[in-house]
């Protein structure tokens, strides 16, 4: 069956979300930094909701150890995550404007690479990298909305994962404590809960609902 036209897909989203909200989602630009368990799930949630412009960034390739929680397929092993996820996002939301950068984000390149998006999602794996991105954006790009994730490892209750508004434009999702190096590591369901919190925070910001 041929895929629906841009207008058909847009109308279907308008029927779900309402004209006004869908107009905001379609006009929005969001950067997803890191395309692992958090980032791949966040990007898919945003694409499904009809966010018009997604900028996905990661330097890594799909590995067999990623398949327990990240939105990749076994036939994509070895492929850059940016390419693998672009392919999937294009199937989900064929008219979404996707920009993919296969690059490692650093304090030096962040201001240039993230200049176009109003909302930035931190979805890295390492604690020091999360802190680097968050500090860099808060210091150098205070006009941005920033949503970050911290604490989603293990298989304890998902009810401790929350979205906290730290300051006017900075939100943190997670339980704040469950470190990947304690216990059994990352499990799909709990990582997806945290990713869903981040995606939900992003959509609420776009909608103008800026409380956590």
């Amino acid at each position: 069956m041929p895929i629906p036209t841009r207008e058909e897909m847009y109308r279907a989203l308008e029927e779900r979300h309402g004209k006004e909200l869908q107009r905001k989602f379609a006009a929005a630009s969001v950067a997803v930094c890191g395309l692992g368990g958090l980032g791949s799930n966040i990007a898919i949630a945003l694409a499904r909701a009809g966010v018009g412009n997604l900028h996905i960034i990661d330097f890594d390739c799909v590995d067999i150890s990623n398949l327990n929680r990240q939105q990749y397929f076994p036939e994509q092993l070895g492929m850059p995550k940016t390419q693998a996820l672009s392919d999937t996002l294009s199937r989900i939301a064929p008219y979404c404007n996707i920009t993919a950068d296969c690059v490692k984000l650093t304090e030096e390149n962040i201001p240039e690479l993230l200049r176009n998006e109003a909302v930035i999602c931190e979805a890295f794996d390492k604690a020091c990298q999360k802190a680097m991105l968050v500090n860099c954006v808060l210091e150098k790009m205070p006009e941005k909305y920033l949503v970050s994730g911290s604490g989603m490892a293990g298989l304890s209750t998902a009810n401790t994962i929350v979205t906290k508004k730290i300051t006017k434009r900075f939100y943190v999702c997670g339980d704040g404590v469950s470190d990947v190096s304690d216990g059994i590591g990352l499990v799909s369901s709990r990582v997806m809960v945290c990713a869903a919190h981040e995606a939900n925070a992003v959509l609420r910001i776009i909608a103008g609902e800026t409380e956590a």
Partner: protein, 64 residues
């Protein structure tokens, strides 16, 4: 008194670096906001807390 992550504590006169050390937190893995403004990492040692300040220490743990 200083409000740190929602808790009122007698930390007036201390700097941010000392507060983090006391909380046993690696300064590499945090973002610190003082009265809604980010504290640059290079300024942790020179940022002294005063009565009525509101400090948010966001600690990052690994996993994503």
């Amino acid at each position: 008194m200083v409000k740190i992550n929602g808790e009122m504590l007698a930390k007036d006169g201390m700097n941010v670096a000392d507060v983090l050390a006391e909380m046993n937190i690696n300064p590499q893995n945090v973002a610190v906001e003082l009265n809604e403004e980010i504290v640059p990492k290079a300024s942790y040692g020179s940022t002294v807390l005063s009565d009525g300040d509101v400090l948010e220490v966001v600690r990052f743990v690994g996993g994503g």
